[in-house]
């Protein structure tokens, strides 16, 4: 393992290590947990969300994709959820602006927020060490290789896992939150949403 990844692993706090252990255990924890069709709350409940109106999110997606650290994040998200001819990609579901929306939430765990944003730096440092340029400047194959390499470290896998989790939220949450514009993710996966759906003045953070 590259020494940078070792350093990233070593930088994890005891709490973050506890989360890692739990996440590993929970992958096998899907059957008995919460019978009677209650919440399959496999997501960390400490994660929060706050935000702006949905129609602002698409514009925000384009804007963020030009500035750091969001440029790097958007590039990584596009590798994680690419435009491969089948279904929406990270860009078309506003994954970057959705992630910013999540990270800016007042109830977002500050340590997790810091971890996600710091991950950009670790990724770029590795990219420079391997290919003499930041992640977003690397060729496609190099980007894939870098993501595969960081996934072999605990911290890197955790970082990628966070990004994928929020891509899934951007893909399948109600469009009122800014991802999944016009239900593009629902249509692709033939998911039928329930009703009544949340109106703009009753998003979940309006209820807190």
């Amino acid at each position: 393992m590259h020494k940078l990844l070792k350093q990233w692993d070593d930088s994890l706090s005891p709490t973050q290590h506890a989360h890692l252990d739990t996440n590993l255990a929970r992958r096998h924890f899907i059957f008995n947990n919460l019978k009677a069709a209650a919440a399959l709350s496999l997501a960390p409940a400490w994660l929060g969300l706050n935000g702006c109106h949905a129609d602002e999110r698409a514009n925000e997606q384009a804007r963020l994709s030009q500035i750091e650290p969001w440029y790097t994040i958007a590039t990584a998200q596009q590798q994680l959820f690419p435009d491969d001819g089948d279904g929406p990609d990270a860009r078309s579901i506003n994954a970057t602006s959705y992630l910013k929306f999540v990270l800016d939430a007042p109830d977002m765990d500050p340590e997790d927020r810091r971890f996600i944003l710091d991950g950009v730096d670790w990724l770029n440092r590795l990219a420079i060490a391997r290919y003499t340029g930041v992640f977003a400047s690397c060729e496609q194959a190099q980007q894939v290789s870098l993501l595969q390499e960081i996934a072999k470290s605990q911290a890197g896998e955790r970082w990628l896992s966070f990004l994928v989790t929020y891509i899934m939220e951007a893909l399948l949450s109600d469009p009122v939150y800014g991802g999944n514009p016009d239900g593009i993710g629902w249509k692709w996966l033939q998911h039928i949403p329930g009703f009544p759906r949340p109106p703009a003045n009753k998003r979940y953070f309006d209820l807190l």
Partner: protein, 564 residues
């Protein structure tokens, strides 16, 4: 002069019947609920609100539990226990801190207990390591209240005679079944071939309107985990507390968290001390106090409520509060109806979202099978569709079989395949979680909530017999799934507790040394305090608890009326 005749702490299934019945009888009632007061106008089919953020439950950074789980054995063969805060694990043991409690979010699978559930010890004999005890009341004592719940809360269904059917005082349910999904027919056909007794699962869901406030089910396809927007689901709020408030005798104080009950030199409780949303302390005095915070938090509140006659916590002079906590043992699994293998017309029917499967089996409620062993208590198997939550399902798919993260086109292909190629039929096994010394609630010695109050520590040990019964029933469920034509049948049974199905911790009995409550659910040495959530249950039966909690709370309401 007290502030109220009755002060109820909590507002869920154990609280609603007491509030309604006492308020309608003209007594003044105050309900103290820690969470907010949402109405049906606040509930939407929003997966983020329902299941991925702390909207209906506390933020775990503010209020957590400490979980002690098995961690192998030491050199002398004794169990070791790991210790982890739920804020670190994300494994949330809160189930609905809002007016109406977790009954807002139930699926409403309503089964009665059966006569043998009231005397498990005498019926099946002792099991080494299990603290079995017969109940001090019988099924006949509770039957009128089960019937009351059918009418007042609203239970829909159709009675199917079968070998383990419990006696009923009425021939059938007051409300017809809700609409059924085509999978129910496939299930019926399979059961017919296997000579099993397909049961229509009774549901606390109204098929049609009974009032402007309680309309019929809208069949959105999202029920369990979600608050109901039509009033069809028989939550404590919708079915009972609204009636109580209408009398003018019941006041619900939301966002009011009770820290302790204050008792006098005689042992009686005189006031509930709570903190409001602004952090201001208040007290409510009453003639009768009813604790209904769900099993874990009820035990915690009693342990926190020390007094001159209760130096170790209210009702805890014999160190029984929090002991013999039970969950529901069993497991769950799936089988897939794979679209490309089926008639396209059937596929179209399978893709319909909204109606319920509403099917269950109780053919093995008692196991008479030499291959299993001596005659033993079995359980219930419910059949339903996979929960429709899409985000949680998608997130589970980010891991492969080797626990490695999947992304890129591989992830997209996996999502597409899993979401669009089949309909997953789910089964859930409910069997007794035997009470043991390794499953209990205590106050944690170091972790506190945001108000500086010690949190509950929950040890979640289980009995190996639970696994054996769960595996037996799971095997039967898989046979049914196979007969239904499902493929990729999988499932698991382990000792992880379903945290939404809690009971015990303050068992009732006639002996004050071995029980917390008397047979009327009154604390033995605090005669004006009742516990009316599921805490009283010495054994839990092999069905979801909610109907029984409702029924017993109606019974407790009658007892309180007589006492006042």
């Amino acid at each position: 002069m007290t502030d109220a005749d009755i002060c109820i702490i909590g507002s869920g299934a154990g609280a609603g019947p007491v509030a309604r019945q006492l308020a309608q009888a003209g007594f003044s009632v105050v309900v103290l609920e820690k969470g907010p007061h949402f109405t049906q106008q606040d509930y939407f089919k929003d997966e983020l609100a329902c299941c991925r953020r702390s909207v209906y439950t506390p933020n775990l950074r503010d209020e957590r539990h400490v979980i002690e789980d098995y961690d192998g054995k030491d050199a002398s063969g004794h169990y070791k226990w790991s210790r982890q805060s739920t804020a670190d694990s994300g494994w949330d043991f809160w189930n609905g801190n809002v007016v109406g409690g977790s009954s807002n979010f139930m699926s409403g699978f309503f089964y009665r207990l059966k006569p043998q559930d009231f005397h498990l010890l005498s019926e099946f004999g002792p099991i080494t390591g299990a603290n079995l005890a017969d109940w001090p009341i019988s099924y006949e004592d509770l039957e009128p209240y089960y019937t009351m719940v059918e009418h007042i809360v609203g239970v829909s269904g159709r009675f199917n005679p079968h070998p383990f059917a419990e006696p009923r005082s009425t021939p059938d349910f007051p409300f017809p079944p809700t609409q059924e999904h085509i999978v129910a027919s496939l299930f019926d056909d399979a059961c017919s071939k296997m000579q099993l007794h397909s049961l229509r699962t009774p549901r606390a869901i109204l098929p049609t309107a009974i009032s402007a406030q309680r309309r019929g089910c809208e069949y959105s396809g999202f029920c369990g985990s979600y608050g109901c927007a039509s009033g069809a689901k028989g939550s404590s709020r919708e079915a009972l507390l609204n009636d109580a408030v209408k009398t003018g005798h019941c006041q619900i104080l939301a966002r009011s968290k009770v820290n302790r009950l204050i008792s006098d030199n005689s042992g009686k409780v005189t006031a509930a001390e709570y903190v409001d949303v602004h952090g201001v302390l208040h007290r409510v005095s009453a003639r009768i106090f009813v604790v209904a915070c769900q099993a874990v938090e009820t035990a915690r509140l009693l342990l926190l409520s020390t007094g001159p006659k209760h130096p170790n916590g209210l009702g805890n002079n014999h160190a029984q509060v929090g002991k013999n906590l039970v969950f529901s043992a069993g497991g769950a699994g799936y089988g897939d109806l794979i679209y490309h293998e089926l008639d396209p017309k059937l596929v179209q029917q399978l893709k319909v979202r909204g109606p319920f499967v509403n099917r269950g089996l109780q053919d093995w409620y008692v196991i008479n099978d030499e291959q299993f062993g001596p005659r033993a208590k079995g359980g219930t198997i419910d059949f339903l569709l996979r929960h429709p939550n899409a985000i949680n399902r998608a997130i589970q798919l980010k891991w492969d079989d080797q626990d490695k993260l999947v992304w890129g086109s591989a992830l997209k292909q996996k999502l597409k395949h899993e979401f669009t190629n089949a309909l997953s039929v789910r089964y859930e096994v409910f069997c007794d979680w035997l009470p043991t010394d390794d499953c209990f609630v205590a106050l944690d010695s170091s972790v506190k909530d945001k108000w500086g109050v010690p949190v509950a520590k929950i040890r979640i040990g289980y009995h190996d017999h639970d696994i054996k019964v769960g595996q037996y029933l799971s095997g039967k469920a898989k046979q049914v799934l196979q007969a239904m034509g499902t493929k990729k049948i999988r499932g698991g049974v382990d000792g992880s507790p379903p945290q939404n199905l809690q009971a015990g911790g303050c068992r009732f009995g006639t002996d004050p040394v071995s029980s917390v409550l008397d047979p009327e659910c009154r604390i033995h040495d605090a005669p004006n305090v009742f516990v009316s959530d599921g805490s009283w249950m010495p054994t839990g039966g092999s069905v979801p608890y909610t109907w029984t909690i409702y029924a017993n709370a109606f019974r407790v309401a009658d007892i309180i009326k007589r006492q006042l």
